[in-house]
Amino acid sequence: MRALLVEDDPDLSEDVARSLAAAGFVVDRCSNGEDAWFQGDVEDYAIAILDLGLPRLDGLSVLRRWRAASRTMPVLILTARGEWTEKVEGIDAGADDYMSKPFATGELIARVRALVRRASGHASAMLTVGDLVIDTARMNASIRDRQAQLSQLEFRLINYLAHQQDRIVPAGEIAEHLYGATDGSDTNAVEAIVTRLRRKLGSSAIETRRGLGYLLTGKAG
């Protein structure tokens, strides 16, 4: 598996590259933003590890250019500032995870592996229910023009509903699917996830059947 490591500090880059190599990755290294953009644009990588503070072109701009060019490899960003607004900007720009410096290399490798597993585990299956299209590879959903990035829980919930084929699914059953052993209060958590999904996909995408459960209609609006 190929990994692109973009880090301008040679010592850190050297160490992370060595750890990635030890974890089984073939690592390409870049030390500035322009090279990183070019490399990520023309080569296929299983993952990119991208520092935000880069010479020539900053990391966020590199990431935005990759996504604009439909480069879909998972990207983990490294940031020295560690401010929340910077993390939000990174995720908005299309990053899949972030780590603040200084970090433990072991944790970095674990996260890289998790991202690669998540991206590759779902091949590129697309599920369609009504107007709703679920991209199981990138954990995305779109309904007409509306695009939404889903959290792990949201994805698991809507994926489960999508596989129930017009069946009304009780909240308790969903909670059991999400959490395994459950108690009564977990249905509140299910309701919270459904509320957030409706905010992302529109209020008609999931209907509540009072006393029965939830039905995925996939309707836009």
Partner: protein
């Protein structure tokens, strides 16, 4: 009013000065009035005396004779208070009221009436006029004296003095009140200046208002120039501290990596020392960055859309290992704006949501609403919560709260410092979800907080 007070000094000075001026005025007016009354009294006596002179002749024995005598009945009553007497070397003639007494001899002029205040018979003080007359051009002169008991006049003057003193005391009171008003009005710009300076002390970016009397404009300009210089120094110092902290993070990551290699090489003790050093330096850097952020937030203006900030934060946190298993519910009134810069709000709520996520079992709820003149943002979780003593420790100033999991135990400290800097109230309590509830509360801009 404090002893060493400008207001007290000005007021005391005005009160004493006005009192002395009014006392002097009282003495002067009283003296003038007395002179006036005595002159009127003397004029009346001269008229009577001229009646005596009109009837004055010298008898064959050389003694003075007054015929007809003044008809005023007071001259008939013994010790009646009005007396006349004509005297020469051979003898004298006098009013019946004098009986066996005589008027005191004072120097009398030949050509004009002389006024004097004397002690007369029967122990009474008298106003007396006297003059030397030469009836029929005789060489032997006759001294004519006419006197009147002046106790009534003195009583009238005393009454006048008392009324005058009361009036002037009243005037003193009115003038003192006027002085108080004047001093208060005069010192009011200083009071406003003091409030401006208090604002400047709390917020280095604030400046003194230009709306002050032109007499203190040079002072305002000097203070504003000093504040600008101080703010510049602060900003440079903070920027250097933040740059230094950020600049150290990458080398620190390198050292952390070296530690792992050292451990792999079998030198566990050395690796542990390195790890401890990295952790200590990392904590110091985070603390410095937090201080720098809080200092920059102090006095900064701006507001931010609460839903936008919270949605952004949740989209980040739900991607973390801990966040992906948590259901986040966001219940924030549409259009709710927190009176704080978006970056600062993100730092506060980010730390609170991350903390709630770390301890939650299934669910984290973020609420926001406007209530009773306040803007409230609350983060709740369904985790184990904190007992009352832990909450008390967590909300104390200057206490660092250690948190489970990663991080440097700074999360709630950052929230507390930023809440302090943005004039928010930060509180912890029990949540209806069963875990901890963390609340940030700002006074709404429509309801500014009362001044301390």
């Amino acid at each position: 009013m404090r002893r060493n007070s400008l207001r007290l000094r000005l007021l005391a000075g005005a009160a004493v000065t006005v009192f002395l001026a009014l006392a002097l005025a009282w003495a002067g007016i009283s003296w003038l009035f007395l002179q006036h009354v005595e002159r009127r009294e003397a004029d009346a006596l001269v008229q009577i005396a001229e009646q005596v002179v009109a009837g004055l002749t010298v008898g064959a024995d050389g003694r003075p004779v007054v015929e007809p005598r003044p008809a005023d009945p007071r001259f008939q009553q013994i010790a009646g208070g009005s007396y006349w007497q004509a005297t020469n070397a051979r003898g004298s003639v006098q009013s019946q009221s004098l009986w066996d007494q005589s008027l005191p001899r004072t120097g009398a002029s030949l050509n004009r009436w002389t006024r004097a205040t004397v002690m007369g018979p029967y122990g009474k003080q008298l106003t007396m006029v006297s003059r030397q007359i030469r009836p029929d051009e005789r060489p032997l002169g006759v001294t004519v004296r006419v006197a009147n008991d002046n106790s009534e006049v003195r009583s009238a003057v005393r009454d006048f003095d008392r009324v005058l003193a009361l009036s002037l005391a009243l005037l003193w009171l009115v003038l003192s009140i006027a002085a108080y008003v004047q001093v208060s009005l005069g010192l009011r710009p200083l009071d406003r200046l003091r409030r401006d300076l208090e604002r400047l002390r709390r917020s280095p970016s604030a400046r003194l208002s230009e709306h002050h009397p032109h007499e203190i404009h040079p002072l305002i300009e000097a203070i504003n120039a000093m504040a600008t210089a101080r703010e510049g120094d602060l900003v440079r110092a903070r920027r250097r501290a933040a740059d230094l902290a950020h600049g150290l993070k990458t080398p620190l990551a390198v050292v952390a990596a070296q530690s792992r290699r050292v451990r792999e090489a079998g030198a566990d003790n050395a690796a542990e020392s390195l790890d401890r050093a990295v952790e200590a330096v990392g904590a110091a850097l985070e603390a410095e960055l937090a201080r720098s952020r809080a200092a920059a937030a102090r006095g900064a203006s701006g507001d931010s859309d609460a839903i936008e900030v919270v949605e952004g934060l949740v989209s980040v946190i739900e991607r973390t290992e801990e966040g992906e298993a948590i259901a986040f519910s966001i219940d924030i009134a549409p259009g709710l704006r927190a009176p704080v810069d978006g970056t600062d709000l993100a730092e506060m709520l980010g730390a609170l949501i991350e903390n709630a996520t770390r301890h939650a079992r299934r669910q984290v709820r973020i609420e926001g609403r406007r209530e009773a003149g306040a803007i409230i943002l609350r983060v709740e979780d369904d985790g184990p919560g904190m007992d009352a003593s832990a909450i008390e420790v967590a909300t104390q100033r200057g206490v660092r709260i250690d948190e489970r999991g990663s991080g440097h135990g700074l999360g709630l400290s950052i929230v507390r410092d930023l809440a302090d800097a943005t004039e928010a109230m930060f509180g912890l309590g029990a949540s209806a979800l069963g875990g901890l509830s963390a609340e940030l509360r700002w006074a709404s801009p429509d309801h500014p907080p009362k001044r301390r």
